[in-house]
């Protein structure tokens, strides 16, 4: 009886099942082979030192010295096994959690590092590498959160770049004049929000295309900040543009954990604010009245209007809030890193934040991951450059952008923006 039902249902069932998704197993297999062959079999002789310890840890972990070839082979075999698992999983049409690609990525990067460090007898400072990754990601994460809030409520914000720069500028100037870095932290969101005011003024009141305004605002902010930098700031740098650094506030106990504790919990207040912003957005965008309204306005403004939500007011408010978030991110360039303001110091990070937001599919969690990926690859590039490896820095830096192109082209699942973004709401 049971056998019969299985027999009768399985052929029809077989017709319905989705085709085997070969995309990821193929990628895994290629990467595993690259790792096994290039980093393992024909890898470089010599040893690689992974430096884990940094002064003042709760307990010291000795440096991990591995033979480059042996590490490459071992990790290569592990990766090949994982690739085989992914093939099996794909053939059975099962799904694995997100831990799988993450673990795969970590192992691949480790095998790459073991290879890259070999030959030159290089020391890979893991803590520095990760701390650098976080530091480089902070403005990106703030920027991506800004873009996310704006686009979820229907306003495309290309001006993140300008908001970061404006935040960096005002934070530096105010902190320098008041001689207190925390004052800069208060000023930065105002600068970001001011840019957002212009954005929404033209977007909501005059229905100007939002991409146009964004692009132009970026130029405007570069122009104004560079102009003031060349005239006012350089005239009396001691008054207007002295270095002010937010002090590091290590969290007791947590910051004593080797590697991750050092990286995550021995930071200045801006980084902690970032944690709070990301977590809060992840909760509030999807679980609060505010988030529901924001998404409604971004997906179907007419429906939102019908139930009494003030569409344009919601959009303006959220975009201003988003601008303030980006402004905070900009503060990381100056007071967050203890640097004086420099011309165009945001250097295209706003555009990358935009990409991180899209790569993260307009989700705070995803955008965070994507921004960390960008930051990590940049930090990796810096580390490898300093230990002198055969890999060109530029090629490594290029990688996240190529990944984003693939992602946008629909390789990593379908990416769908909020339906009504960029469309002015006209009653």
């Amino acid at each position: 009886m049971t056998a019969q039902t299985v027999e009768t249902t399985s052929p029809t069932h077989a017709k319905v099942v989705a085709p085997i998704a070969w995309k990821f197993p193929i990628v895994y297999s290629i990467l595993a082979l690259v790792s096994f062959v290039f980093f393992g079999l024909i890898g470089r002789d010599g040893e690689t030192t992974f430096r884990v310890a940094s002064g003042g840890d709760l307990f010291a972990i000795p440096d991990l010295v591995v033979s480059s070839t042996a590490a490459g082979l071992t990790l290569g075999i592990l990766l090949v096994i994982m690739a085989a698992v992914s093939v099996y999983v794909a053939m059975r049409r099962l799904s694995i959690g997100s831990w799988f690609p993450m673990l795969f990525g970590i192992l691949f990067v480790l095998s790459f590092l073991a290879w890259a460090g070999g030959g030159s007898g290089g020391v890979i400072p893991l803590t520095t590498l990760l701390a650098g990754a976080l530091a480089l990601s902070v403005p990106l994460i703030f920027g991506a959160m800004c873009g996310l809030v704006g686009e979820r409520s229907g306003i495309i914000n290309i001006a993140i770049e300008g908001q970061l720069l404006a935040g960096a500028f005002l934070a530096a100037v105010v902190a320098s004049v008041v001689k207190n870095p925390y004052a800069g932290l208060l000023a930065a969101p105002i600068a970001g929000a001011l840019v957002a005011v212009i954005l929404t003024f033209f977007a909501v009141k005059y229905w100007v295309n939002q991409i146009i305004i964004g692009v132009v605002l970026n130029v405007l902010v570069v122009g104004v900040t560079s102009f003031l930098y060349s005239t006012v700031l350089t005239e009396d740098p001691g008054l207007w543009n002295s270095r002010q650094k937010l002090p590091d506030l290590p969290i007791p106990l947590l910051s004593d954990i080797p590697v991750l504790g050092r990286v995550l919990f021995d930071q200045n207040i801006l980084v902690y604010i970032m944690y709070v912003v990301v977590i809060a957005l992840q909760i509030f965008v999807f679980r609060s009245k505010w988030g529901l309204r924001m998404r409604a306005v971004g997906e179907h403004p007419k429906a939102a209007d019908t139930v009494g939500i003030k569409v344009n007011l919601t959009r303006v408010r959220n975009t201003l809030l988003a601008g303030a978030i980006a402004g905070l991110g900009g503060a990381f360039f100056t007071v967050g890193s203890g640097l004086a303001f420099g011309k165009e110091m945001s250097a295209g990070q706003g555009y990358i934040a935009l990409a991180a937001m899209i790569l993260g599919k307009w989700n705070p969690k995803g955008a965070l991951m994507a921004a960390l990926l960008f930051g990590f690859s940049k930090s990796l590039g810096n580390t490898l450059q300093s230990i002198g490896t055969p890999v060109a820095n530029e090629l490594l830096l290029m990688l996240p952008y190529i990944v984003t192109v693939f992602a946008v082209a629909g390789f990593v699942g379908r990416v769908r923006p909020p339906a009504a973004e960029g469309v002015p709401y006209v009653k």
Partner: protein
């Protein structure tokens, strides 16, 4: 397609995505095409005024005079006007005609310098304008310029060919480079619907890093030096000068004129250009009329990239003569504002490119003579474009009447 038989029934709302796409493109076209020359002119005047305010505020003498405003208001105004006036007259002398120059040649040289600065802006701006007309947002001018310059420059010093031929080959290389780079975005947009804004932004960064990588490879740079720059391109590949030496005006400007005419012909007289505009105006209607939207998307991006690549080629073969990491400067982004100011029309883009070229050329003289940083030019340019994008704002400032034609119904 939904079948809506009864006329009385409310027509079903189109799917939100289609609506969004439609709205965006119509909106874009409307903003770019509507409005009048008067609004453009007023926008330029307003932007210059605003720039003047910024110059005054940041000038120590003006600020000092303002502090004594009530004691000596006349002095304040004379300082104000002389400061702003000096800056703008230097800008004009650097951009159009230098009446302080000792020789006649020197006096008219600024105008040709504006043309030199304007050449790559015009070419790249045309590429961006063309994509705008098709409803595509080509932010990737920067990457396309880099690719065009890289290939044109490389061919310029790697090959050895007779004079004119060598230059033409290098120019074609630049065109192909830009076309391929923009073509990637076009194909991805047509095949997968990937947003061209993001793809072109990513391609900009990729192109920048690729050039940075190549400039460190000695096989590419043809030099033994460790500096990230290439060998100087051969004389045979350099764009010949249109005027004798003190002038730098080169053949690239002729190319810019030809390209302007070509784009005009393409948009106004050719079948494919009609298809471009049809897709830009309403992709759904265009599809219904039998136009292949995906084919048009790819074609328009390739042509746009070719123009931007030509801009890069003109920059490297006409003015820079060697490849450096900053070969593209900010041409790709300036070109977006050029296309917007030119309302995406060929002649408009040409004139806007000349204007921005003039700002650039004049900005250098202004900076060296009056100490006013050239960055003010960026402010003026962006304010111009912002104001032009919102004609109602300019009209309300100057109390102009609203034109009757454009009335968007819901």
């Amino acid at each position: 397609m939904t079948t809506d038989i009864s006329p009385a029934a409310p027509s079903p709302a189109p799917p939100p995505e289609a609506e969004a796409e439609d709205g965006r493109q119509q909106n874009l076209l409307q903003e770019i095409l509507s409005g009048s020359w008067l609004v453009s002119l007023l926008a330029i005047v307003l932007a210059l005024l605003l720039g003047g305010v910024l110059i005054a505020v940041s000038n120590a003498e003006v600020v000092a005079a303002a502090e004594n405003f009530f004691a000596a208001p006349g002095e304040f105004f004379s300082t104000l006007f002389s400061t702003v006036g000096n800056a703008y007259s230097a800008l004009f002398r650097g951009a159009v005609f230098d009446w302080d120059a000792r020789t006649a040649e020197r006096a008219i040289r600024p105008l040709t310098e504006s043309m030199v600065s304007g050449t790559p802006l015009i070419l790249t701006g045309l590429g961006i304008a063309l994509a705008f007309r098709c409803g595509l947002f080509n932010i990737g001018g920067q990457g396309q310029v880099i690719l065009g310059a890289t290939i044109a420059g490389f061919l310029g010093y790697a090959l050895s060919l007779p004079p004119i031929v060598h230059m033409l080959i290098a120019v074609i290389g630049g065109i192909v480079g830009g076309a391929i780079w923009a073509g990637i975005a076009g194909v991805l947009k047509a095949r997968t619907g990937a947003n061209e804004v993001i793809v072109t932004i990513m391609l900009n960064s990729i192109a920048g890093y690729a050039l940075g990588y190549l400039l460190k490879q000695n096989w590419f740079t043809h030099t033994a030096s460790a500096n990230p720059q290439s060998r100087v391109i051969d004389d045979s590949a350099q764009m010949f000068l249109l005027l004798p030496p003190p002038f730098r005006l080169h053949f690239g400007f002729v190319l810019a004129i030809l390209a302007t005419v070509f784009v005009w012909w393409l948009l106004e007289r050719s079948t494919i250009g009609f298809e471009f505009k049809a897709v830009g105006a309403n992709p759904h209607a265009a599809r219904t009329a039998g136009i292949s939207v995906s084919k048009v998307t790819v074609t328009v991006m390739i042509v746009a990239g070719a123009l931007a690549g030509l801009g890069g080629a003109a920059q490297v073969l006409g003015t820079e003569f060697k490849l450096t990491g900053g070969i593209s400067g900010s041409i790709g982004f300036d070109a977006i504002t050029v296309a917007l100011l030119g309302r995406s029309k060929p002649l408009g883009t040409f004139l806007a490119g000349l204007l921005f070229g003039a700002f650039k050329a004049g900005g250098y003289l202004m900076q060296s003579q009056t100490g006013t940083p050239i960055d003010i030019v960026l402010v003026v340019q962006s304010v111009i474009v912002l104001l032009i994008a919102a004609p109602p704002l300019v009209r309300s400032i100057f109390r102009l009447p609203t034109p009757v034609l454009k009335r968007k119904e819901d």
